[in-house]
Amino acid sequence: MGSNMAECHPVGFQWVMEAKLRGATVIHVDPRFTRTSANASIHVPIRAGSDIAFLGGIINYILQNQRDFREYVVAYTNAATIVDEGFRDTEDLDGLFSGWDAEGRRYDPTSWQYQGMVAKPSTGLREVAVRMAAVPDRPVDVPEPDQDPTLQHPRCVYQILKRHFSRYTPELVEQVCGVPRERFLEVAETLCQNSGRERTSAICYAVGWTQHTVGVQNIRAAAIIQLLLGNIGRPGGGILALRGHANIQGATDIPSLFDLLPGYLPMPHAHHHPTLEAYLAMDAAPAGYWGRMREYTVSLLRAWFGDAVGPENEWGFGWLPRVDGDHSVYPAVLGMLDGRVQGFFLLGENPAVGSANSKLHRIAMSKLKWLVVRDLVEIESASFWKDGPEIASGELRPEEIPTEVFFLPAASHVEKDGSFTNTQRLLQWHHRALPPKGDCRSDLWFFYHLGRAIKRKLAGSAEARDRPVQALTWGYPIEGAEEEPSAEAVLAEINGRDASGRPLGTFTELKDDGSTACGCWIYCGAYAGGVNQVARRRPGREQSWVAPEWGWAWPANRRILYNRASADPEGRPWSERKRYVFWDPVAGRWTGADVPDFKVDMPPDYLPSPGARAEMLLRGDEPFVMQADGKGWLYVPNGLQDGPLPTHYEPHESPVGNPLYGQGANPVRQRFERSLNRTNQDGERYPYVVTTYRLTEHHTAGGMSRFLPFLAELQPEMFCEVSPELARERNLVNGGWAVISTARATIEARVLVTDRLRPLRVGRRLVHQVGLPYHWGSRGLARGASANDLLAIVLDPNVHIQEAKAATCDIRPGRLSR
């Protein structure tokens, strides 16, 4: 769902086809009929933005018909956990959960908590846990909340879930999603039949799920299905994110993201984290592997600041800058419009084409003092000041744009060493084949040399703010005439070392006394033994199907996370057919096809003793070792901004109302209403749904594809897809031109009239959907309008991702007047 895998991840899709040849049923739920649909057993067209209604329908089907994998659910999820008596559901409050603060437009999650325990989330918004920790008389993170293993208690998670989704019936799915009930029931039943002891089902998604104001809750809904059906931690199961760029996963693990430090440590918050002790007290969970957060943090600070830090200065924790709100890219770009942000680095990114409301980004960049663009080609974001659409229209004039622009040519992937982390958490090394030409340089080179120049300029400074720069460890070996820093040396720092300089083998070797340094605890082991494990390339045909000696997967080279759940509570495989990781009672250790994601010698019947900490505070039958209670979370008491359970809300722009609740859209979504970012609240003016997507032959904003002759020839021109019915309604002709408009912008595109899109019956209304690929811009060999001009900046509240997959538009035949 939410993915066109055959066209966007074609080589990965070979494994889906292999599975199909072996008898698997492939279901594709997507607004468009694509090559993925053509190769699927079942294709279900769905209205863009209605995924939670569909998934909620499946959850309801599982619960009403008792199709859950009961032993798995009771033992491994929080189904039995009892929730605070103050909790009120969206069913009780017409689309809001308890704790709603209408004025601040946010939730106080106090009432969402477990009874008898405050469980900190393994990731996500820990401010919530922070506020909770201030509540007296509540034990924090004693991993034994009140439970009812019979699942009968009216406030246990299982019963809450049942009530929450009880109205997500096949009829409602039909009404909201435009999916006929028989077709929905076929999907729900197929999924249930293919899950359990003997079988597992996997759910794949891509940004068709994340780019919504309910993006996180879309994936949460899938997580609930997979936990109820016992499809997590087992071979053939899981929720598989199909990431669209070579190193999306890695850029999250070693984040160039505002809210994280490497390894999912949170950036310190100005309000909650004045000291290292406060940071750890509020964020480290006593139980599970987050119980070692002090080791991870101190080792990171030692890697960054070396001998300049010690216990006397809190390992330099006070030097770290503080966040106190959403500092993600969209607010930053709005800050350019307002004159707050003066300087901007673009490192292989093209927001003038690729970001939602791309026109706003172009105008924002025209307000900057300085801009640095590093790319292979002169992308639209580098040249907006001389040939952007606003220059053509006369809206902007180069002579009036103050922005100083530095364009620096980049090295390609074959001109530098380094690692990508693929979509399955697998790190692979790409070797330098030849040096880059001319001024082309790697970003490693750029930042190493920029850092060296800055350190030189600040060497004599006595300013307090310059101390961390002066202390920053920056002694990477350099190679060759262009003085390229050694990527392998950087990987070694990321991996970590002990006091003697020996590369660490795994993250449990990390210490909190400063004797270890490690740049990213989850990558510890990638350079174990001083060997670049990431560069391993033992041919797949010479290995088991798990192929553990190809590259290196974090953490600890585990290929399936939480794989302790592939065995039953006693440690035996759930079935011979689905045997993966299990307890060997003779050897007294976990074994199997993969590296066990569990303390390898912890027996299944282990019970924590008083005084235990971290992973030793969880039981031997609790597989979810990153969770404070060791359980898979059907219900999320902590960490989410918009509720403990997914709820169907309409997209911010929708042609229909929400039939379930008075609350239409996600109440906590982030809105930024201003003249350059108007949104449509009038269904009649923009009556159609518009969604965006990729083509096989192009790559995102086009910087790596529109400039290549082969790819430009294969997909030369921007187009829009419409159904024959919509074409009739609006006199659109196949091969002709159309003008597509939203509350933000108007663009033109060639028309493709196709049965691949079809109108859906949603309630009493026939909803038409317009499909737009988003790769084009004003430069390169293949040029065209940018679909992102049409989209609004309106964001998911948890992760600040834009709603690019569902908006409203109008479409008319003809071209833009010039």
Binding site: V11, G12, Q14, H245, A246, N247, I254, S256, F258, L261, A270, G318, P321, R322, V323, H327, A332, G335, R340, Q342, F345, L347, G348, E349, S355, L376, E399, F407, P409, K416, G418, F420, T421, T423, L426, H430, H431, A433, L434, G438, S442, L450, K457, R465, A471, L472, A487, L491, Y523, R537, R538, P539, R541, G551, T696, E697, M704, L708, F710, G780
Partner: protein, 194 residues
């Protein structure tokens, strides 16, 4: 056989029936169907001086690539059959990666646009690096926030922002985050969010 017919003996030897019989290829579906032109073609990877292992830079499937190099130039990029992920396959983008490296629109020189300028100007890489370092330090000094209105520590600048693509390597992201964090730049972002 429009060209290259030189002698009777050769002609006989090239007679398809005879070739099929000799090669035990009765259906003519094997090498006997090959024209001389095909037989004389050489793979563009045949003369490579070295083959370097790489990873496709487009999507996150992580297909293995083999980079063929001759005379300090990438001559072709193909799928790596050893990869348990891709088994030698590449999609149209991955298969076009040789053009990603060599295409005519790639930029090789620093370009500079001065404020209110109407055209690009030349600038040396060294000078550009120095100017960028100066801009960073000046903006940082001008927009530094030591504490918020309630006296809480901030140690940061909101005057600088960064947005990286998700084709940056892990090692590159590590240096980006490390340097920017030490400088107090918190608006460090990546395509990974978008």
């Amino acid at each position: 056989m429009s060209s290259g017919v030189r002698g009777g003996e050769n002609l006989l030897a090239r007679w398809p029936v005879l070739r099929q019989l000799r090669a035990r290829d009765p259906l003519g579906l094997g090498l006997t169907a090959q024209s001389r032109r095909s037989a004389e073609r050489r793979a563009r990877i045949a003369d490579a001086e070295r083959v370097v292992r790489s990873v496709c830079p487009y999507c996150a499937v992580g297909c293995g690539q083999l980079v063929y190099v001759r005379d300090n130039r990438v001559t072709q990029i193909e799928g790596d059959p050893d990869s348990p992920i891709s088994r030698g396959r590449l999609c149209p983008k991955g298969a076009a990666s040789e053009q990603l490296v060599n295409h005519a629109l790639r930029e090789y020189r620093v370009k500079y646009r001065r404020p209110y300028g109407t055209k690009w100007e030349e600038l040396s890489l060294e000078r550009a690096m120095d100017m960028i370092a100066d801009r960073v330090l000046a903006t940082r000094a001008e927009t530094w926030e030591e504490r918020d209105a309630e006296g809480r520590m901030l140690n940061r600048t909101l005057g600088i922002a960064s947005l990286g693509g998700a084709t940056l390597d892990n090692e590159e992201n590590y240096l980006i985050k490390k340097l920017f964090t030490a400088l107090g730049v918190v608006q460090v972002e990546n395509q990974a969010r978008i």
